[in-house]
Amino acid sequence: MSAHTEDAVEHEATTDAGTRLRAEGVRVGYGDTVVVGGTEGLDLDVVEGTVTAVIGPNGCGKSTLLRTLARLLTPRHGHVLLDGRRLDAVPSREVATVLGVLPQDPTAPEGITVADLVARGRHPHQRWFRQWSAEDEEAVAEALEWTGMAGFAERTLDTLSGGQRQRVWISMALAQGTDVLLLDEPTTFLDLAHQVDVLELVARLNRERGRTVVMVLHDLNLAARYAERLVALHRGEIAVEGTPHEVLTEDTVRDVFGLEARVVPDPVAGTPMVVPIGRYVT
């Protein structure tokens, strides 16, 4: 795992043992409105080797927070630290060897093949005269194999199903070889079976490869099952954070989502499961 990044970011005085990514007093906004951080600023620690899910109602700033952690947005106040170093102080390319991001709606050029797309994940490791080194080839082959997409290498992306396409994008992020991976709603537009499929892949990445993952998820029950740490965002501020059992209580679901619900143990995984109470159908 660290073999990919040994030439990358030096581990300078890490603030807390095990913290890879940290937000300190972060406030982000568009125009005059503050979307994330409220008045105080938002603090968040992402611990090495964990899967964190950011949850919250529509418009609460989940994506904004993730995009800030990924340096796609610059906070107006405060800053984000990667391995103890401020993101804006490290060359973006160097960050890209440690921190990978899969945006919500990535675009693929028309007619690109699966292998060519996954190979673009190697961009931070390449130079214009070194576009396909042995390491690149190895990383891409492994990423394709790992996500089960090796057999589709020469197919063009537009011939694949939504679930397969998402696997290809994850392969690309995997080929980038970063320790930390940020996923912005990796399961949107997928049916339940493919949502589970993608999240199983994320879980394997975490367990077998020790990748640290932060993802924005809509489905609370899947978030509770696949993340060991939940961050519930409400109006741009952290309402509750902790283990799924700590976060997903009937009170939190009411306060954060404005939803009356029962929370019962998931019959399969034992994690909390949110069962909404309707007004007409109870």
């Binding site: 995009r67 990924a70 796609l72 973006s92 390319r93 160097e94 960050v95 890209a96 060897t97 921190l99 991001v101 899969l102 945006p103 990535p106 675009t107 693929a108 050029p109 028309e110 007619g111 690109i112 093949t113 292998a115 060519d116 797309l117 190979a119 673009r120 994940g121 961009h123 931070p124 390449q126 130079r127 214009w128 005269f129 070194r130 576009q131 396909w132 080194s133 042995a134 690149d136 080839e137 190895e138 891409v140 082959a141 492994e142 194999e145 790992w146 996500t147 089960g148 090796a150 057999g151 290498a153 020469e154 679930g163 397969q164 980038q176 079976a193 499929d197 199983e200 892949l201 077998e208």
Partner: protein
């Protein structure tokens, strides 16, 4: 799909140093020498080689045509260092500069188009949209029509000579488009709209200048405005050649970043690319190439629009290829000039031929795109 996951487990058994990985990626054969590496793309290489051969052949035919006809074989012999003295004189002094100017201008326009379309991710974009061509046109007309009569600004332009004035005009117009289109980053769509607006404004200035010009000036101006290779000498070849030699290596290095930019701004930033800086630099290079081409031969329209898409269809891939576009552009301009001189007769400007060929193609692109969007 869930069953496929199981079959891949064998490929992922991690055993510390000896991780078993498949050794090759289908469709991406490596081409490696020392620290240099690339993907071997046979189709792209074939297009470049065949294109280069076609270019030499068409160029030789074009050189052979004239009041003193020379057989293609003899032209080639002269080009590769043989032939009689009289043939050598006619070829290298009289006719080669015209063909070379055409080839270099075409190459510059082809690359400029490939860059612009690659950056904008839109096959309908070309340096024309950046205002280059019309800016150069206005500057050239100012020199032709107002020289001597105008104010000091025109006098200054006139002192530069027509080609340099056209170059300056093209660069200024493009700079204006960029400045007006820039708003917290460079959005491709806004860019195209602003470019179209500026172009229309510049075209009306051109019309005005043609109206106030006297008959002789208007005649000269019209020939220039159609884009012509008539009476081109080595002094026209050299500037374009120098620009190409300086700009192309930088372009090749920078277009590598389009690999990331193609995937959208967020993904590109995630891959460590500085999006706006890359876009501006690449567009700047495209503008310099297109402006120098226009300065050397006048506005030869549609080459930069058509050539990148044709090259893309021929070479395959997901973005207009640079080198193939350069060669295809050179072939189009040299062949267009040959066509204009032989089939159409007289001294028909090459720009007329490219417009006649290009306009239907633009319509085809528009129709296809509209269909696709409404589908």
């Amino acid at each position: 799909m869930t069953t496929e996951t199981d079959t891949t487990e064998t490929g992922t058994t991690e055993t510390g140093a000896g991780t078993r990985v498949p050794d090759a990626v289908a469709g991406r054969r490596p081409l490696r020498a020392g620290p240099v590496s690339a993907v071997w793309r046979p189709r792209g290489a074939a297009v470049v080689l065949v294109g280069a051969a076609v270019l030499v052949l068409v160029g030789a035919v074009s050189i052979g045509r004239g009041d003193y006809p020379i057989a293609v074989g003899d032209v080639l012999r002269v080009l590769f260092g043989g032939g009689s003295r009289s043939e050598t004189f006619v070829v290298t002094e009289l006719r080669l500069p015209r063909v070379l100017t055409g080839a270099l201008v075409g190459a510059a326009l082809g690359i400029a188009g490939a860059i612009t379309q690659g950056v904008a991710r839109n096959p309908l974009t070309s340096p024309d949209v950046l205002g280059v061509t019309d800016g150069a046109g206005v500057a050239a007309l100012l020199v032709l029509v107002l020289a001597g009569t105008g104010g000091s600004a025109v006098g200054l332009l006139a002192a530069l000579g027509l080609p340099l004035a056209a170059l300056v005009g093209g660069l200024l117009a493009a700079a204006l488009v960029v400045v007006l289109a820039y708003r917290q980053g460079l959005d491709a769509f806004r860019f195209i709209l602003v470019g179209l607006g500026i172009s229309v404004a510049l075209v009306s200035v051109t019309s005005w200048l043609l109206v106030i010009a006297n008959v002789q000036q208007a005649g000269l101006a019209l020939v220039w405005l159609r884009g012509s290779l008539n009476a081109r000498g080595w002094e026209h070849v050299l500037p374009v050649a120098v620009v190409l030699v300086l700009v192309v290596p930088v372009t090749i290095a920078l277009t590598f970043r389009l690999d990331a930019l193609d995937l959208g701004d967020d993904t590109a930033r995630g891959l460590g690319v500085r999006v706006d800086r890359t876009r501006i630099s690449l567009l700047g290079l495209a503008v310099v190439l297109a402006a120098s081409a226009t300065a050397a031969a006048g506005p030869i329209r549609f080459v930069a629009l058509v050539v990148p898409q044709v090259s893309l269809r021929l070479a395959g891939g997901s973005r207009p290829p640079l080198i193939a576009s350069a060669i295809a552009g050179a072939v189009l301009v040299v062949a267009g000039d040959l066509l204009a001189r032989t089939v159409l007769g007289g001294e028909v400007p090459v720009g007329v031929v490219t417009v006649v060929l290009g306009a239907p193609y633009l319509l085809f692109l528009l129709v296809r795109r509209t269909r696709k969007d409404s589908a």
